[in-house]
């Protein structure tokens, strides 16, 4: 499934142990992106951290590909200081009930990033210790970074006449 060029890369070779976890991959502008099956994300991450020296989670974010399906793409930026290497993992999630396992158990750094995505995109992270809104007020309706959320906010939109 992966191109030969990708299969040359050490990380990709190492990940062959996880059959079916890596759905796709891409080496673009010198950046490696691996497309991971959402249900396998935690074990892949744990393996990358312990086995492949990706000890740092640089950040997690999400992209909303509305109206495409699967709509949400959760993006993990991993970094290995020993190997001086960066790796991007992405997971595609359905728009109806977007949810994915939390990687908090792998990196504590995931805490706030996952809360931020929950807050701004409405993606839930299962097993997250404290999944509450972080940037928006607690009683906020909607998720601002979704593409169907108007830039002015609902309050000032003219949708309802």
């Amino acid at each position: 499934m992966l191109s030969d060029q990708l299969n040359q890369i050490r990380v990709v070779q190492a990940l062959e142990a996880f059959a079916g976890a890596v759905l796709d991959g891409k080496l673009d502008r010198n950046e490696l992106t691996l497309h991971i099956a959402p249900e396998r994300i935690v074990e892949v991450c744990r393996f990358l951290k312990t086995g492949q020296q990706f000890v740092r989670l640089s950040g997690i974010t999400a992209v909303d590909w509305h109206p495409m399906e699967p709509r949400f793409e959760v993006v993990y930026h991993l970094h290995s200081m020993e190997r001086n290497e960066r790796l991007r993992l992405t997971c595609r999630l359905d728009g109806a009930q977007p949810g994915i396992d939390s990687v908090f158990s792998v990196w504590r750094a995931a805490d706030w990033y996952e809360r931020e995505i929950f807050d701004l995109f409405g993606v839930t992270f299962r097993n997250h210790p404290n999944l509450i809104r972080i940037l928006m007020p607690e009683d906020w309706v909607g998720h601002p970074l979704r593409k169907d959320f108007p830039i002015h906010g609902h309050k000032y939109s003219y949708k309802d006449g």
């Binding site: 673009d28 974010t61 200081m81 750094a109 593409k147």
Partner: protein, 399 residues
């Protein structure tokens, strides 16, 4: 009077909840920390952020690529040029653009000056938090000079927006090198002044040594970057490990300390100021001549003169102004070493003239996560020193 202090008199533990912020002199902005105190010892610290959330990431999606640059100024308003640089580098990476040497060196020089200015604000506020009032004003004296330099270059003191996709906004003004050289020649002696007041001061050492310690493994696990992690003994600096904007052509050290306490962070940042000054001197000495903008007419605005005389330039100018330039589809993550740590811009392009998604991996956001670890079990007075050593900017946290 009995319930005034919201005391939880359950069993033998009596704790008091103290709401530090959002309006508090030491939270450096609108940060709210819910502290649970047992006497003066912090049992639990829960930061509450988002008071400065302005939705910059959302706003980026409706601007053209060039229009995003002024927004990045507002993210970390103390290190605006670093934000400019990071965004610009990310877009240039998407475009696959080559930037002329002079622009790259100019960028390096100005971001290093930004680092100095940002560290000066940190040092001043950190010192005044611990009670050393005068250092604050000394630091702001030098920062004032720096802001004047920024104004000279860009016309703005803080919201510079000086770096543009494809180069700089303007060529360097006349006489810039004299002004910068004058500042940078005097600057090391100014750092000596701060150090005279603080480094060997027994009270300063008592207040900062052994305070706010977090082990290196924890720091890495929590995602802390920048001077904080270097103060714990990890010599990791993106300028060295993943050089950008021709940093590989400069000689500099990465100062580190072992102790991972407030004092170590202080030493690291002060040493970084000196290193930055060193880099600026190198940039001044070896500043290459040449164009300050890339030769990419579809991205870079043409010169005024050309626009008025050449049809082609006029068309490009019109197109860039009205609809911007389209960027090939793809996604890039560009990380740079901002004053506070790893600043990363994740830019997704769908091939149009507006970024599809801009995510800012800001250092303050990642560093602030370490705060509960730093505060819990320590004294309330230590919280001030620890918070100061985190060096966060709330605009950077909330975006």
């Amino acid at each position: 009077m009995n319930d005034t202090l919201a005391t939880a008199a359950t069993g033998s533990k009596r704790t008091m909840t103290l709401n530090m912020g959002p309006q508090h002199p030491s939270t450096h902005g609108v940060l709210r920390i819910l502290l649970e105190l047992d006497g003066e010892t912090i049992v639990k610290a829960a930061p509450d952020i988002g008071f400065l959330h302005t939705g910059i990431e959302k706003e980026c999606e409706v601007k053209t690529y060039q229009q995003v640059v002024p927004l990045t100024d507002r993210v970390d308003y103390l290190a605006n040029l670093s934000n400019n640089l990071c965004y610009v580098l990310a877009v240039e990476k998407l475009l696959g653009m080559e930037i002329p040497q002079r622009a790259q060196w100019m960028r390096v020089m100005l971001t290093e000056l930004t680092r100095i200015s940002s560290h000066l604000v940190w040092l001043g506020t950190h010192a005044i938090d611990i009670g050393a009032m005068s250092v604050f004003l000394y630091c702001f004296r030098e920062r004032e000079d720096l802001l004047r330099i920024f104004e000279m270059f860009s016309g703005q003191r803080m919201m510079t927006s000086y770096f543009r996709v494809g180069g700089l906004a303007l060529d360097a003004p006349r006489g810039w090198d004299k002004v910068v050289r004058k500042f940078i020649n005097e600057f090391p002696s100014k750092v000596d002044q701060y150090e005279n007041l603080l480094t060997a001061n027994p009270i300063w050492m008592q207040r900062t040594k052994g305070v706010g310690h977090v082990a290196l493994e924890d720091l890495i696990d929590i995602g802390v970057t920048g001077p904080m992690i270097r103060a714990a003994g990890m010599p990791w600096d993106i300028r060295k490990s993943e050089p950008y904007s021709s940093y590989e052509q400069f000689q500099f050290h990465v100062p580190t300390q072992k102790e991972s306490d407030v004092f170590a962070r202080y030493l690291v940042r002060v040493a970084e100021m000196r290193e930055s000054a060193n880099i600026v001197v190198q940039a001044l000495d070896g500043m290459p001549e040449g164009p300050w903008q890339a030769d990419a007419p579809h991205v870079v605005l043409p010169e005024r003169e050309k626009m008025k005389t050449q049809m082609e330039s006029l068309i490009y100018h019109f197109k860039i102004i009205t609809e911007g330039f389209s960027v090939p589809a793809g996604q890039v993550y560009q990380a740079i070493e901002a004053p506070r740590g790893e600043l990363g811009y994740y830019v997704v392009s769908d091939g149009t003239a507006k970024p599809y998604r801009v995510h800012m991996r800001t250092p303050s956001f990642g560093n602030l996560m370490a705060m509960p670890h730093m505060l819990e079990g320590r004294l309330l007075a230590d919280s001030i020193a620890s918070l100061g050593s985190l060096d966060f900017v709330l605009g950077d946290v909330d975006r």
